[in-house]
Amino acid sequence: MTNAVTFHKVSRHYGKVKAVDAVDLSIAEGSFFAMLGPSGSGKTTCLRLISGFEKPTAGEIRIFGQDVSDTPPNRRSVNTVFQDYALFPHMNVRDNVAYGPMVAGVGKTERYAKAEEMLALVKLDGYGDRKPGQLSGGQRQRVALARALVNEPRVLLLDEPLGALDLKLREAMQDELKALQKRLGITFVFVTHDQHEALSMADQLAVFNEGKIAQIGSPSEVYDRPATPFVANFVGSSNVLPPSLTAQLGGAAAWASLRPEAIRLVAKGKGKMNGTVAALRYLGAGSRVSVMVGETEIAALVPAGEAAPEAGAEVGITFETSALHVMAGS
C-alpha cells in the first residue's frame, strides 16, 4: 500500500524557532491519522505543510509519492477543515459548499447538485439557502466538512475541528467523522490537543513535542507503551517513575510509566510500597487519589464502588509487575 503523505527530514524553522524539526513521517492511505500534542508542539505546522500554507525550510514532502515542493495549495488534492471553519460569510451554505467546483469551472446546475449531495452527506439537506451566520457551531462545522469533501480530496486535513463544540456535540461528531472516514475511504489527518479524542478516533497517532515526533503508533501502543516520559504524561496522564524508584520496585534503573488505573490501594505494608494520600479528586466514575511516595507523586484511580482513603491516610500501593512499562527516553 502506498503512503498518502510522507515527510522526509522535514523542518520548518522561523529564525531560531524550530516549529518542526527534521520530522520523518508516513501516513498510510485510507487511515485515520491523528497528530496529538500540546499547543506549540508543531502539529498544526505539520498540517499546514501538507496543505501547502507553509513551506518546509528543509526536507521533502510527498503526497501519494509525488513531491509537492513546488505545488501551491490550490493544486494539491488535499482539502482542509479549518479550526474556525473559515466559511465565506457573504455566501449562502450552498455557494460555500459549491465553491470548489465553482473555481474549477463547473457549471451552476452541476455544482449545485454536487453541493446538495454533500450537504445530504453531512445531514444538512435543506440548509442551502441559509447564511453561515444563521447556523449553530455544530452546523457550521458540518458545512466546513461538506465544503472540504466536495472536491473529493485524496487527503482531508482537519485542524482541531471539534475544539469549539460542547462535549455532547463533540462526542457525536467524533463518531460521525469516524463513520464518514470509513465510508469514504479518504485519508483523514486530524490535529488535536485532546488525548481522548486522538485515542478514540485514530488508527495511528503521532505525539508531537517541541517540533519533533515523540512517538508514532496505534492508540493502544502509544497508551500502553509510551516511548518517553513526555508521552506517558501527555497521553493518559500516566505516572512517570524516576529510575531510582523503578529500580526499588524491581525494574531496571530507567524511567518507567505506570497507569493510574493499574494501581490498587491496599493497607499500609501490604503493597509494593507505602505512601501518604495527599489529595483526592472525585471524577464521577471513580476518584483519582494522589499518593506521595517520598518525593514522587503517584496517582491511582479508585473505581466508584470501592472505598477511597481519606487525605493524610497512610496506604500501600500495589500493581501487576507487567503494568510497569520501562521507557527508552529520558
Partner: protein
C-alpha cells in the same frame, strides 16, 4: 460582627451608577440627546430649509425670490449649460473615485495584511500626514507642480519624454495648455487630496477578513485572481463603498480645487457658490445642491442591490 453584604455608598458617583443601573434608558437618553439635537434639529433642519428653497423660484426681472411652490427651478437644471455642469461633476467624481479605489486598494491591502508594529505606524503616519497640512497649501503646491514651468514638465523634458506629456495634453476634452489648466490636472489633485479617505475605510474592512478565509479559498482550488474576485473584494466591499462615499461626495461638493487647478468650465460646487453669492439665485443654488444628494442616494441603492453590503 459580620461584614455587611452591601458596600457603603461613596457619594454622587455611586448614586448615579445606581440610577443608571435601575434605569438603563436614562443613560442612553443622556448620551444621545446632544447629538440627536445637533443632527436632528440643526443639520436636518437646515437640509430641510435648503430643500424648501429649491422649490421656490426667482423673479427674473426683480431678482427677488418668489416664495411659492414650483418645479420651475428644477426644470432649469435641465438647461444644456446646467446639465453640462452636472454631467461634468458626475464624470469627475466617478473617475476620481475609481482611481482612488484602484490606487488605494494595494496600499490598504498591504497595511491590513502585512504591516505590523512599526510598519503599521509608518502606514498610518504616511496616510494621515498629508491631512495635517492645510488643504489650500496642498492645492496651490499642486498648481506649481503641474504648471507649464513646473517640475513635471521640466522632468519630462529633461529625460526626453516631453513629447509624451504633450501627447497627453493634446487629448481632446481632458487635455489643455498645461497640466494645471486641464481636467487631467484637476483629476490628479482630487485623487491626491481624497485618497486617504478611501484607503482608511478599505484598510479597516480588509483587516477584518481572516487569513483563514483566503487560505480556505486557495485550499479549495482558487487561483489568486479567483480569491480576489470571489472572497477578498466582496468582503472588502463595505469598506470600498464607505471610501467611495467620501471621495464621491467630497469631489461633487468641492469648489476650490477646480477653481485653482483646471479649466474655466464649472463644477456643481462652483455653480452653487456663484449662484448663492454673486447671482443671488438661492433657489437654483439649492436645486443644484440637491443633485449630489440624489446622486448619492441612487448610488447607494445600486450598491445595495448589487450586494455590496452582503458581507456586513
Amino acid at each position: 460582627m459580620s461584614r455587611s453584604a452591601i458596600l457603603p455608598n461613596r457619594g454622587l458617583a455611586d448614586r448615579l451608577s445606581a440610577l443608571f443601573w435601575r434605569r438603563p434608558r436614562v443613560l442612553l437618553l443622556l448620551l444621545i440627546t446632544p447629538p440627536l439635537l445637533w443632527l436632528g434639529v440643526v443639520y436636518l433642519g437646515s437640509l430641510g430649509a435648503l430643500l424648501l428653497q429649491s422649490f421656490y423660484s426667482i423673479d427674473e426681472f426683480s431678482g427677488v425670490v418668489v416664495e411659492e411652490f414650483t418645479l420651475k427651478t428644477y426644470g432649469e437644471l435641465f438647461r444644456a449649460a446646467n446639465m453640462d455642469i452636472i454631467l461634468r461633476t458626475l464624470t469627475m467624481s466617478a473617475s476620481v473615485t475609481l482611481a482612488s479605489a484602484v490606487i488605494g486598494f494595494p496600499v490598504a491591502y498591504f497595511a491590513a495584511r502585512f504591516a505590523r508594529g512599526r510598519w503599521k505606524a509608518v502606514f498610518y503616519l504616511g496616510i494621515m500626514l498629508p491631512l495635517w497640512s492645510s488643504y489650500l497649501v496642498k492645492v496651490y503646491a499642486w498648481k506649481l507642480i503641474l504648471a507649464k514651468e513646473g517640475i513635471i514638465t521640466w522632468a519630462a523634458d529633461s529625460v526626453g519624454l516631453g513629447f509624451l506629456l504633450d501627447a497627453v495634453l493634446a487629448l481632446p476634452g481632458v487635455g489643455g495648455n498645461s497640466l494645471s489648466t486641464s481636467f487631467i490636472g484637476t483629476w490628479l489633485v482630487f485623487v491626491y487630496v481624497w485618497l486617504p479617505y478611501m484607503i482608511l475605510p478599505m484598510q479597516a474592512s480588509l483587516e477584518r477578513v481572516p487569513v483563514s478565509m483566503l487560505e480556505a479559498s486557495s485550499d479549495l482550488g482558487a487561483t489568486r485572481g479567483q480569491t480576489f474576485r470571489s472572497v477578498i473584494l466582496p468582503l472588502a466591499m463595505p469598506g470600498v463603498i464607505a471610501g467611495s462615499i467620501f471621495t464621491f461626495s467630497l469631489t461633487m461638493g468641492d469648489y476650490i480645487i477646480p477653481q485653482i487647478v483646471g479649466t474655466s468650465a464649472r463644477f456643481i460646487g462652483q455653480a452653487v457658490y456663484q449662484l448663492q453669492g454673486t447671482a443671488g439665485n438661492i433657489p437654483l443654488a439649492a436645486a443644484f445642491a440637491v443633485v449630489p444628494i440624489l446622486i448619492m442616494l441612487v448610488y447607494l441603492s445600486l450598491a445595495k442591490r448589487g450586494g455590496a453590503f452582503d458581507a456586513l
